[in-house]
């Protein structure tokens, strides 16, 4: 069933999104079943759910991707609905179909909508019927000479994209016509070797473009609305790092037009449940449909904070066949919200993922601060899953208040035991371009890095670091050489050290 009554939800996911869904279900009074792999026994989603079932090994193919086991666990525990979260099986039309065939409610759109939007060309055809603007480009399967002709017609620069690619893989920009033939040959070769499929298509390369997406909500009673936009241009290797709602770039007129377009795109596949229309918007505010994500997004909290709508709860309501809570498009967001994705990756070492145990964690709290996370002091970050450990979200009456609160929250947040990207976010929040709202999707990769701070450290900070480093080395050296006899006035500056250590024994 796509919609209908249910009384217990199996959550086919892990990490912060599993916790997020448990919370939504608990707020609605619906019991939940968590599933877990070998390495997730102590994870918060297992501990916060009403029931928890072990489903296999740590690798996703052994557990979270085992659709058969998930449906089996739902049957055994009496769960009559499955929420897929995001990632894993969330956009797997086949699994959605199997869930429905098993007589369970799938908390998401229909398998047909997932399948259509999951196929680039099918999605383009579908939305084109509803007059949704698309980035000028070609279809797949064209021979070289037709592609060259098409590229000339679209106008350079263009982007050659592998049909089988995705997430930024298999893309090649071409600036000038004379480079096209060689680039095409290389692109086909690479696509063949990487994806076993040399088929490519081309698209107009947008300059200074932003990634802006619209939140859609549609119920089974024929209502489809949008809840405004999210600004997601702060990316690295096509991975979003920071999201905002609303976007500095979107005025009321653009929001009305893009919102109507987003609703038309969703309606083109008879969409029901929460979804996102991703767009590229160029400098001149021309906007183009990119793709539709047929699930809850990682960045959904920023929309929640400026609308007051709990999107995970709305997903459940809609799947139960009820009318959704909000009934009108969101044209005037309440305040401003920013999300920073806190990842276990080292911004000083090319964002290399980091694994290990979180030995200490002090969360930022206080007014305007929300943390969505599935970890705790003692959690192990394993290499089996993605590197996101938490989402830090702040709200303010204005963008400036939201940013100041984010800065403050980042400075309070302590995570130890592994490398994380909080320094990246602190540096970004100090960047004049970011503060001024002047950035596009290439900003992080082309114009921002961890070695060039826009403000130099002060002399005072440098000296403080020198003192700290020296006292650290001095102390370590003393411990190593077992110098235990304290000098007569040694207590003065070190008194607290001893006191604290006594306290924490």
């Amino acid at each position: 069933m796509q919609t209908g009554p249910f009384n217990k939800i199996l959550i086919a996911n892990r990490g912060e999104i599993a916790v997020r869904i448990i919370r939504a279900a608990r707020d609605l009074g619906i019991p939940t079943v968590a599933v877990y792999s070998d390495v997730d026994r102590t994870a918060l989603h297992v501990r916060y759910a009403d029931e928890a079932v072990h489903i296999g090994g740590p690798r996703p193919v052994e557990s979270y991707l085992r659709g058969d086991r998930l449906i089996d666990v739902a049957r055994r525990t009496g769960a009559d609905a499955i929420h897929p979260g995001y990632g894993f099986l969330a956009e797997n039309a086949e699994f959605a179909g199997e869930v429905m065939n098993a007589g369970l409610v799938w908390i998401g759109p229909s398998p047909e909508a997932i399948a259509t939007m999951g196929d680039k060309q099918a999605a383009r055809s579908a939305v084109r019927r509803n007059k949704v603007p698309l980035i000028p480009g070609t279809e797949a399967g064209m021979p070289d000479e037709e592609l060259i002709y098409a590229a000339r017609k679209i106008g350079f620069p263009v982007l050659i994209k592998a049909v089988a690619g995705g997430g930024g893989k298999g893309m090649r920009p071409v600036q000038r016509e004379e480079d096209f033939a060689e680039a095409l040959a290389t692109a086909r070769r690479e696509a063949e070797s990487a994806f076993g499929n040399g088929d490519v298509y081309i698209e107009k390369l947008l300059l200074g473009a932003r990634h802006i997406e619209f939140q859609i909500l549609a119920d089974a009673h024929g209502n489809t609305i949008h809840l405004g936009e999210r600004e997601c241009s702060i990316q690295r290797r096509h991975q979003k790092l920071v999201e905002e709602a609303p976007s500095v770039f979107v005025d009321l007129d653009l929001r009305e037009r893009m919102g109507a377009m987003a609703i038309a795109a969703a309606e083109s596949v008879g969409y029901v449940n929460a979804g996102t229309i991703e767009c590229m918007v160029d400098r001149d505010k021309n906007y183009y449909f990119l793709e539709m994500n047929t699930r809850l997004q990682v960045e959904h909290p920023v929309t929640e904070l400026v609308t007051g709508v709990d999107l995970a709860k709305e997903q459940i309501r809609i799947a139960r066949g009820r009318r959704m809570g909000p009934t009108e498009n969101l044209l005037e967001p309440k305040g401003w919200a920013i999300e920073c994705r806190i990842n276990a990756e080292d911004p000083y070492a090319n964002f290399m993922p980091s694994t290990g145990q979180i030995t200490t964690m002090i969360l930022p709290t206080g007014p305007g601060v929300r943390v969505d996370s599935g970890v705790f002091s003692g959690s192990e970050i394993t290499p089996y899953y993605d590197s996101m450990i938490a989402k830090l979200i702040t709200w303010g009456e204005t963008r400036s208040e939201a940013m100041l609160r984010m800065r403050r929250a980042l400075s309070e947040y302590r995570i130890m035991g592994l490398k994380h990207n909080i320094p990246f976010h602190i540096n970004l929040l100090n960047s004049i371009s970011f503060i001024a709202g002047q950035f596009d999707t290439n900003f992080v990769e082309q114009r921002f890095n961890m070695n060039t701070y826009e403000q130099r450290p002060t002399t005072g900070d440098m000296e403080t670091v020198a003192i700290a480093a020296t006292l650290y080395a001095h102390r370590k050296r003393r411990l190593a050489s077992q110098v235990v006899a304290p000098a007569k006035r040694d207590a003065s500056n070190w008194k607290w050290m001893g006191r604290f250590e006594r306290m924490h024994r």
């Binding site: 590197s387 909080i422 320094p423 020198a466 480093a469 006292l471 001095h474 207590a491």
Partner: protein, 170 residues
């Protein structure tokens, strides 16, 4: 105890007396330095309150403070003497280890090849991402211990690079 501490090419002469007092370039500083557990430290100096995460790795001390990473070298009298006497030292280890468990996607270096610091030598897949592991030094590839398709554990030695000797500032 006298130290020379170098941060971002700035040089600080820091003296820590047995009574715990701290002198920076000869001037007395009021310092209260306190471990908060693990690698978290609180430092109050001249009333200013700072929190820093301090770790060290083979003599280099990494201080993360106010969202910024500083690398410090703290040299004691013996180390200063040693450097003054020798004039130069090798610029660090040339071992490329697996920073996490994963699957080797490709080895992009060959034995005997000259590499520069920052050149990619191995591509390792982990946490759903392909990660380029780079040479930590300028030098020549001395040995390769893995091949594409091989699963490796954290800290496994992948590639050894013989570092070219270089000048060191003191």
């Amino acid at each position: 105890m006298k130290y020379v501490t170098i941060i971002n090419n700035e040089r600080y002469e820091i003296e820590i007396d047995n009574d715990g007092s701290v002198l920076v370039n000869g001037e007395l500083r009021d310092v209260d330095f306190l471990n908060l557990g693990g690698s978290l430290f609180s430092l109050i100096t001249e009333n200013k309150s700072f929190e820093a995460v301090i770790d060290d790795d083979e003599g280099r001390i990494a201080v993360m403070m106010r969202g910024r990473l500083f690398e410090a070298q703290v040299l004691d009298e013996r180390a200063i003497l040693l450097i003054q006497r020798r004039g130069a030292q090798p610029s660090g280890s040339g071992e490329v280890q697996a920073p996490m468990p994963g699957l080797v996607v490709a080895v992009t270096a060959t034995v005997g090849q000259k590499v520069q610091q920052g050149d990619t030598v191995v591509i390792l897949e982990s946490m759903k991402m392909q990660n380029e592991l780079k040479s930590p030094v300028d030098g020549v590839v001395a040995s390769i211990h893995v091949e594409a398709g091989q699963a490796v554990d954290k800290n496994d030695l992948l590639v050894e690079i013989k570092a070219a000797a270089s000048e060191t500032s003191t």
